[in-house]
Subunit: 405 residues, 2 copies
Amino acid sequence: MMKKSVIVGQSGGPTAVINASLYGVVEACREAFDRIDRVYGMINGIEGFLQGNYVGLDELDQKELVRLRHTPGAYLGSCRFKLPDDLSDPVYARIFEKLEQLNAGYFLYIGGNDSMDTVNKLNAYSQSAAGGICFVGIPKTIDNDLVLTDHTPGYGSAAKYVAATVREIVLDASVYQKKAVTIVEIMGRHAGWLTAASALARNDETDNPRLIYLPEADFDADAFVGQVARQLEKDPVLVICISEGISDRQGIYLCEYGSESRKDEFGHKMLTGAGKVLERLLKEKLGIKVRSVELNVSQRCSGMLASKTDADHAALAGRHGLSAALAGQSGSMIAFERDGEDNFRIQCVDVGAVCNQEKKFPAAWITGGGTDVSREFLAYLKPLIKGEVKQEMKDGLPVYLRRKK
Amino acid sequence: MMKKSVIVGQSGGPTAVINASLYGVVEACREAFDRIDRVYGMINGIEGFLQGNYVGLDELDQKELVRLRHTPGAYLGSCRFKLPDDLSDPVYARIFEKLEQLNAGYFLYIGGNDSMDTVNKLNAYSQSAAGGICFVGIPKTIDNDLVLTDHTPGYGSAAKYVAATVREIVLDASVYQKKAVTIVEIMGRHAGWLTAASALARNDETDNPRLIYLPEADFDADAFVGQVARQLEKDPVLVICISEGISDRQGIYLCEYGSESRKDEFGHKMLTGAGKVLERLLKEKLGIKVRSVELNVSQRCSGMLASKTDADHAALAGRHGLSAALAGQSGSMIAFERDGEDNFRIQCVDVGAVCNQEKKFPAAWITGGGTDVSREFLAYLKPLIKGEVKQEMKDGLPVYLRRKK
């Protein structure tokens, strides 16, 4: 049998460990050199690949590979590119032509919901065209919103960043005597997983953040003002964590009440600004000192606070992605199953059942009338943030691997 | 001679290492137990002390002390409280009465410009009243804007945080193909020291951040738009670092063109929002994708990215603060002098010459027509960010010391 090549891409928003998955793929390829021809990386995902942009990954030496494992961002570059629903669109033939030119037999795509949509469509086209290429998805997203998997690589590190940073923000907020509210706005789109992680910042149950609002519970502005006022009676220092995606009963995102609201390339609304909206609301209604802090992109690119467990899982997902491809499991996504507290098992699930779905934060884990999360959630999260990644440092700064242009 | 007590306070904004200075004071006190009675900490600085709030620091055990050294924020709490210029104001007599009740002989105050003003006034009152208490200032500020010292504890850690985080933001900004600008807004008030640190994020001279704007150079919006357009021709991914305190030729802060502008307790303008103002400007003038990121409070409270050199200097400044007090050097502030690249010496300077002054970023170190900083500055900064602080971790999160309420 003629040896086929592997082509791997990264897509969607970066995470602290998406490159650990890439590392896992490349390392597994090297061990399977007897069955694999070359290893290519698409530059800027399927969008860049369509423009003929790819790079050989065989050239990376061992030192660069290890550095890649610990580098946040997306080494290969990323894209937000939606393939057409109509499989007779000529773009499919163009992609497959390019894949054949590279002698590709295995197509691995590391990404979230939208990226799994790409894998699913390419697999469907391949089935109909009998292309003989195996398409496998490797999950990543800080949002943790993929179905059919216990968790998603990228989430553990983002959750650790959120919990540690909110713990520090609570220290910062506690230095003055004055009554003051700090609102921390956290990523996660329509899912509250990442915002919920802020509960781990507490040292005990009475500690800040004392109010946590997730998108899975309808947000009511009047109730919110009342909850804040009651908390301020107990303790003048109040830290509140909110998800960027909270919305009211009418389904209007809080951030839409702000000055600007935009859409990304997939037509998804860009959800930032809810913190500022609530800052103004509290100032107006309660006349107190309020500041809002957007944790912003560091949530998805802080290599210095990555979770070792998460990085290990990401690398494992990459390795298993190749195994699944070599085993011919086209149309599958790598997923995690959990036995007990922290015993994880890797399996393959149907990528078609994953894409374009969102795994919401369970209603049963939302407590305090929509202002807190349960102990069950904390037990779920704790194993995912365990352990620290040892970063390579030079002159006091982290050393990261950059692609040569 | 009757042994006198030490009273120490923290004031102004927190930093990653202000508690390392407190640790230095307490540790030095323990070694000088033959000359010192008790060690007290003011709660919420001089403001809280006036209300009778203080705590005994002799109670901290060795494990707590080590934890204190690595805890960001201000363990004792802080204040922004300006003592009256008129030394005949009754507040002075009240403070001295309280100091005498505690048998205080040594007053140590850890803070920035405004805090040194407090030390200076208390010392002046003490001289006139022959109070016999020794007042010494221990410098801290992430802004690095104190005169008569090579640098200020707190700056090195904040600079390391800025450089490492901007390096990660550059990775994050580089994942897409599209022409896009990221504006990073950095603290520092009227001084550009902290924003200038972002230059260390570069891997080489052509790397991002490719434009850096400090408050020490007049900001010209038209020139800015031209500079951005020219940079985008060279490379579609542009990261710009701006100081929160940049202002135009008329002396109007950029952030004042934004929606809100407020003042703090010292009557200083609160400088945030310049990034958003420039985001809107670039979108309007160039019609491109722009996002702005406020690094926000993590710059002053990220214990996870503290500089070992900075933490060591902070602790040393605390130790020397006690030595100066024991030596009777009332009215002085601890300062750093540098011989050569990274050979530091500690000395005492006149606190009256430090307070209410601002050390600006040197004009000679601003290059590129106000868009970059010189190699001389990088050589100045590099030693200050060296080395990592080993944090105590538990279950994946940093363990910090909190004051019991």
